[in-house]
């Protein structure tokens, strides 16, 4: 992608005006290299999170305790794969292909959300992920539906709709457990105890330590700071936990009349940094499994590519996509 010097063309002024007017930048529009790079980094990390995020939940597909729950869970994990597809396509509109991004994920040069480095130990964790992790994702992502980059914003509209299903299904799963037998209730409480703090960390480091926030806000890629979104999430969760009959594991949670928000206790940022560095409970397993699936699938992708090359005029057919399969 070559960039024409903006001062020669007035393109930069056009870009700035588009951002200022709250309009969308589209793939063919001129954009600063840093804007492009920043978006690719963010969209890639988001896409990687979707596909790595399939693992902790897929862990329970074969053990789902009712056929109804099994269908819901399978559909959810499938949705996450679909989200990965939309997002890799959005990154592709910026000139970076899926293969390159996957390679960066597999070699540790790009990250995914740290939350998925925690294990799903019981069935209730499926509910906790839906309620808290998808819930936090929605809080983060709803503002992205107004992101300045068109394809990303549009992908987010679609994704957010599905995430809110996931959030409600998780909540409903937990409610059933909480109102079920004593053992089921304890299972739900234990899951909340383990997932609450990691989900608050999903909003990223506090504002004064966030490396990319200021520029992203100026470009209207991001609309709210990490801390604002985190607060919004806490405010949503507290009453929901109460309805669930479950306790959030924070003794400092209390309503602050003056601020009009819930105060909450200090977050253990050491844990956050450790998990980010690769020292979380499942970092090796998640990336290891992803790599293994990719390597074991190499012969399949090669076969599809070889077949497509031998039969270039092979008529396309409904249902599957020749090109996509050839990737």
């Amino acid at each position: 992608m070559t960039t024409i010097a903006p001062e020669d063309t007035g393109q930069e002024a056009l870009f700035d005006a588009t951002i200022a007017a709250d309009e969308r930048i589209e793939p063919r529009d001129w954009m600063p290299d840093d804007y492009r790079a920043s978006l690719v980094r963010q969209i890639a990390q988001h896409a990687h999170s979707e596909i790595i995020g399939m693992q902790p939940e897929a862990n329970w597909i074969t053990r789902a305790p009712s056929l109804r729950r099994k269908a819901i869970l399978m559909a959810k994990v499938q949705d996450e794969a679909g989200h990965g597809l939309y997002l890799y396509s959005a990154a592709e509109t910026l000139g970076t292909g899926r293969d390159e991004l996957l390679d960066k994920l597999h070699t540790g040069r790009q990250k995914y959300s740290s939350i998925f480095n925690y294990p799903t130990l019981t069935w209730a964790d499926v509910g906790a992920i839906g309620w808290l992790v998808d819930g936090a994702a929605i809080t983060n992502q709803v503002p992205l539906c107004r992101c300045s980059y068109g394809p990303y914003a549009r992908a987010m509209v679609r994704i957010c709709k599905e995430e809110s299903f996931h959030q409600r299904q998780g909540y409903e799963l937990l409610l059933t457990l909480s109102r079920g037998t004593e053992t089921q209730h304890a299972m739900a409480q234990d899951a909340i105890d383990r997932w609450w703090w990691p989900s608050l960390m999903m909003f990223g480091p506090p504002d004064d330590e966030s490396a990319h926030s200021a520029q992203s806000m100026a470009w209207k890629i991001k609309r709210h700071s990490n801390d604002e979104l985190r607060q919004r999430f806490v405010d949503i969760c507290v009453p929901q936990a109460e309805t669930l009959g479950l306790t959030l594991p924070d003794p400092d949670l209390r309503w602050n009349e003056e601020r009009g928000h819930w105060d909450f206790g200090p977050i253990d940022w050491t844990e956050f940094r450790e998990v980010l560095k690769g020292n979380g409970p499942c970092n090796d397993e998640r990336i290891g499994r992803r790599r293994r699936a990719h390597q074991e699938g190499a012969w399949v992708r090669e076969a599809a590519a070889a077949h497509a090359a031998k039969h270039p005029a092979h008529p396309p057919h409904a249902g599957t996509d020749q090109e996509e399969a050839a990737r």
Binding site: I51, I61, A64, L67, A81, Y88, T176, H307, A308
Partner: protein
């Protein structure tokens, strides 16, 4: 031993339930992201069919989670482990071709299974198309994929005879005609894919079979152990 219903909804429901379970094991492991979506689609269709069929036979969860191995009526083909992607595709090709023919027939009859068959036959046509396209790509792809696909087709061949053992309660199904048509379709799909129709026997003393009578293969017990453990650990609980 609790008596179990003898409706044909049970064996057909078990086929769909168990194959769906096996496909669910692919989640997070597929060779390409599009296949995560496609395999999950097929698994979800089958699970949907299973739920309707098992509900015709009784309580879906009781039947899925509280029966012992010897009471499952699925064919042995669907319980076979996923193996590599070629094995999964071979299993899909054999099974979906059979299921499409069977549902196609049932859709034209007038039985309690007719409404389900009418709806499911469209899903099954998509499953068959998916399997056929991949058979083509793998058979006529690289040397490695050709070898793997042929090996998978050969390995699962002995499980295909059982598909056409008459099912109790489906007395009007022309099993021999279905079998001939199945053979024709499989032969044509394999020939297009430059593959060879396996030569081994499909029926006989030690070919596979017996799933319809509750005789299964060793991996099946482990599949059930995993599938049923949580449900069975909390007797009477609601999920």
């Amino acid at each position: 031993m609790t008596p179990h219903p003898t409706t044909p909804a049970l064996p057909l429901g078990d086929d769909a339930l168990i194959l769906s379970h096996r496909l669910g094991e692919w989640a997070g492991n597929a060779p390409v992201l599009e296949e995560e979506v496609a395999l999950a689609n097929i698994a979800l269709d089958l699970l949907g069919q299973a739920r309707i069929l098992l509900s015709l036979a009784g309580d879906e969860d009781e039947l899925a989670y509280l029966r012992e191995e010897r009471h499952f009526r699925n064919v042995q083909l669907v319980e076979q482990p996923n193996g590599d992607f070629a094995h999964t595709i071979a299993r899909q090709l054999y099974f979906s071709t059979y299921q499409e023919l069977l549902y196609d027939h049932l859709a034209t009859t007038d039985t309690p299974l007719t409404p389900l068959a009418g709806k499911a036959v469209k899903e099954t046509a998509y499953h068959r198309d998916h399997a056929t396209q991949w058979t083509l790509r793998l058979g006529d792809g690289t040397d490695e994929s050709h070898t793997r696909m042929q090996r998978a087709l050969d390995a699962l061949w002995r499980f295909t005879g059982e598909l056409f053992d008459p099912v109790d309660g489906l007395d009007d199904v022309p099993w021999q005609t279905l079998r001939d048509e199945w053979t024709t379709r499989i032969t044509s799909a394999l020939e297009r894919a430059t593959l060879t129709v396996p030569a081994g026997p499909r029926h006989g003393a030690w070919t596979a079979g017996g799933g319809r009578q509750g005789l299964h293969t060793e991996p099946f017990g482990r599949l059930l152990a995993e599938m049923q453990h949580l449900h069975r650990s909390h007797p009477g609980a609601t999920w």
